[in-house]
Amino acid sequence: DARVTQTPRHKVTEMGQEVTMRCQPILGHNTVFWYRQTMMQGLELLAYFRNRAPLDDSGMPKDRFSAEMPDATLATLKIQPSEPRDSAVYFCASGLVRVREQFFGPGTRLTVL
């Protein structure tokens, strides 16, 4: 049963600390997306990659967030330094360009104190 995996599932950290979230997309999918979900804003797209190349990161605060795909099986989202307003659930999703449906992982719940 192919699925997107994310680690860690939960993260509690203090303001100013670096946070790294990891995602393993479904094997064979060539697009990867990072979303953030909060009660106030709902689901917001932060960044997405196609064939490991970043295509759009306009939803991401550039000064503290960075997203990379070191290889086809790993995507990372890093926050440095973290702030309390970054507290949210971060989802990774993957898909195939032609199909367009996106398959979401279980999310990383981040709490910044």
């Binding site: 709902g42 196609r50 367009r100 398959f103 979401f104």
Partner: protein, 110 residues
């Protein structure tokens, strides 16, 4: 600006009581409309894709329809296990990214 609006925000029904959820959109060139289901503590789960006005898709007790301005998710004789948040999203022309609505939180009471 591309917008997706879902209504109502929350809906409570009795088991077996059919109803519809609405997703209205104002986008510059719709390339696809998607419905997702999200259970608490989990990621959204894909349900349907609709591409053109008049198109309909069905899955068990759910049926999704699309017009030029909105989509409906019809729920027929719902069961408690249909309780979830239902999200609507669109892909606009020239982009691969989804723009999500705020969701409708559906509760089905036994």
């Amino acid at each position: 600006e591309d917008q997706v609006t879902q209504s109502p925000e929350a809906l409570r029904l009795q088991e077996g009581e059919s109803s519809s959820l609405n997703c209205s959109y104002t986008v510059s060139g719709l390339r696809g409309l998607f419905w997702y289901r999200q259970d608490p503590g989990k990621g959204p789960e894909f349900l349907f894709t609709l591409y053109s006005a008049g198109e309909e898709k069905e899955k068990e007790r759910l049926k999704a329809t699309l017009t030029k301005k909105e989509s409906f998710l019809h729920i027929t004789a719902p069961k408690p296990e249909d309780s979830a948040t239902y999200l609507c999203a669109v892909i606009i022309q020239g982009a691969q990214k989804l723009v999500f609505g705020q969701g409708t939180r559906l509760t089905i009471n036994p």
